[in-house]
């Protein structure tokens, strides 16, 4: 479904501030696989996800989605194949649009937008309200509220719904619960697992919690300084616990994980 081949990215190339963010990443993800990504700060996780989404262009290598070589496609061209939830709750929704308008914008993703009224009639509104009610946050009664008036957790849940509203190839979640309080984070994470399971979505999820990286999904990769260090799945992964990940990290890099970089529990 998704293939990343020998991907290299350097920010500010040719300057003293040059940062090699990806240094030869190879990754193949099968349809329906849920991959969690973990790694220290600056390991290149966000860069990898942005490269898949199209916001970051590769210096070398290729990206293939569902057989299409999308390496040179712009973000908006890939958007019909990709659902994305950003880390920052403000980033994934538009404050100045109502909840309903945000959803309507997501509903026309990938199609040619016309001069038709964006908000449908009562039937479409009821469908949206149905979708919103499963979030269990009371948003179905706030279709006309500006997204800017929602809490962080509500906005993130809305982003998740917007990302998964239409059929797509890959769902990208980049620490999408990191900016939320623990309660909201747990709710949004549970929702993500529920929706991805239900729609059998191919998913790439970055998390800073080692625990979550093993509890969710069916494959875990660990990144360090622009490379994939560790890739576990199947029965081997079932036997893993957080200390095993820490051990492996130490064995391959020769350094300890500092606990402000990753939540160990």
């Amino acid at each position: 479904m998704l293939s990343i081949c020998d991907a290299f990215v350097t920010f500010n190339p040719g300057t003293p501030l040059a940062v090699p963010a990806l240094r030869g990443v190879d990754l193949d993800i099968k349809e329906g696989q849920f991959v969690t990504v973990i790694g220290t700060n600056g390991a290149g996780k966000s860069t990898l996800l942005s490269a898949v989404a199209g916001d970051v262009r590769l210096d070398k290598g290729g990206i293939y989605i569902d057989g299409h070589d999308v390496t040179n496609w712009r973000t908006e061209q890939r958007a019909s194949m990709i659902g994305r939830v950003f880390q920052e709750p403000r980033a994934g929704t538009c404050s100045g649009l109502t909840v309903e308008e945000n959803l309507a914008l997501a509903a026309s993703r990938g199609s040619n937008r016309s001069l038709r009224n964006a908000l449908g009639g009562g039937r479409q509104r009821r469908q949206l309200a149905d979708q919103l009610s499963r979030l269990d946050m009371g948003l179905e009664d706030r279709l006309g509220a500006m997204a800017g008036t929602l809490s962080g957790g509500q906005r993130q849940a809305l982003s998740l719904l917007m990302a998964t509203l239409l059929p797509m190839k890959i769902l990208i979640l980049d620490e999408h619960t990191a900016a939320l309080d623990p309660g909201a984070a747990a709710t949004v994470l549970a929702l993500s697992a529920e929706i991805t399971g239900e729609q059998k979505l191919t998913t790439l999820m970055v998390t800073h919690s080692m625990r979550n990286s093993l509890d969710y999904g069916d494959r875990t990769i660990m990144m360090n300084s622009g490379r994939i260090l560790l890739d576990v799945h199947g029965d081997k992964r079932k036997g893993y616990d957080v200390p095993d990940l820490l051990d492996l990290f130490k064995k391959t890099t020769g350094t300890e994980v500092e606990d402000d970089q990753l939540i160990l529990a």
């Binding site: 989404a53 916001d55 712009r74 958007a79 019909s80 649009l97 026309s108 937008r113 001069l115 917007m162």
Partner: protein
Amino acid sequence: MSALAVAGAIEAGLLFSLVALGVYLSFRVLNFPDLTVDGSFPLGAAATAVAIIHGVDPFLATAIGTFAGCCAGFVSAYLNVRFRILNLLAGILTMVALYSINLRVMGRPNISLYGEDTIFTAFEGLIDLGIWTTSAILLVIAVVMKLLVDWFLGTQVGLALRASGENPAMARAQSVSNGRMTLVGMTVSNALVGLAGSLFAQSQGVADVSLGIGTIVTGLAALIIGETLLGSVKVFWATLGCLIGALLYRLFIAAALSAGFLGIQAQDLNLVTAVVVAIAVILSQARRNSRFKLWPKMRSLLMDTQPQKG
């Protein structure tokens, strides 16, 4: 203030409400500080005036003036989108170029439309409200344009445009091409300004190459007054604010002129407008920051207490 002066102020207010709608689209919706306006306003006037003195039907001439505005907006947007020229600079370049273009279009610094057929003379047979006839026609046009902008911003393209202006990264992720939205939004915005210039020439009976100076600031003044009175969050109220803001502003100017307030004369208009906009912006920023900065500071000055930490 004489009735004639009031009628004149209302006409000017309604004309500038169209500019304010255009400025709302560029500055607010699209987040594109567009200075093309000072050139596209006289361009609309010039194109329409030239068409009319060549015997073109006034309605077609109005369409020509509007289309000329479209082109001006498109050029600024294209400079910004295609060649990555800073949006402010792109607008300034187009505006400066348009000064020469407007002279070329007219062939001389001004054209009088006195005694020519205009869309206003076309309507005079239908409605006769004396000195209020022009105002009535302009009111209908302004309201129709306001409703058209409301409708447009509620379409699928309109939503994409609003998202693109507010949150380009999110818009991209929803398959919106931000570049295309800039082109569309700027074209529509300057169409409104071109229309305003066209109607200005026809209602005031003259197109002049220096007409445009200060258009953008007047449009901004109207926009900010409207936002202050009616809020800026919902499109319906923001566009209504453009109409009301422009009307109030021109009435205020007319009153100040006729009362000889502070000795203000017609040539001081642009100075007054600039000062009003500056004060309005400073006040709105102060209000936004007050909880964090200004108000505790002022309170501590006024009440001789320490600003609260927190």
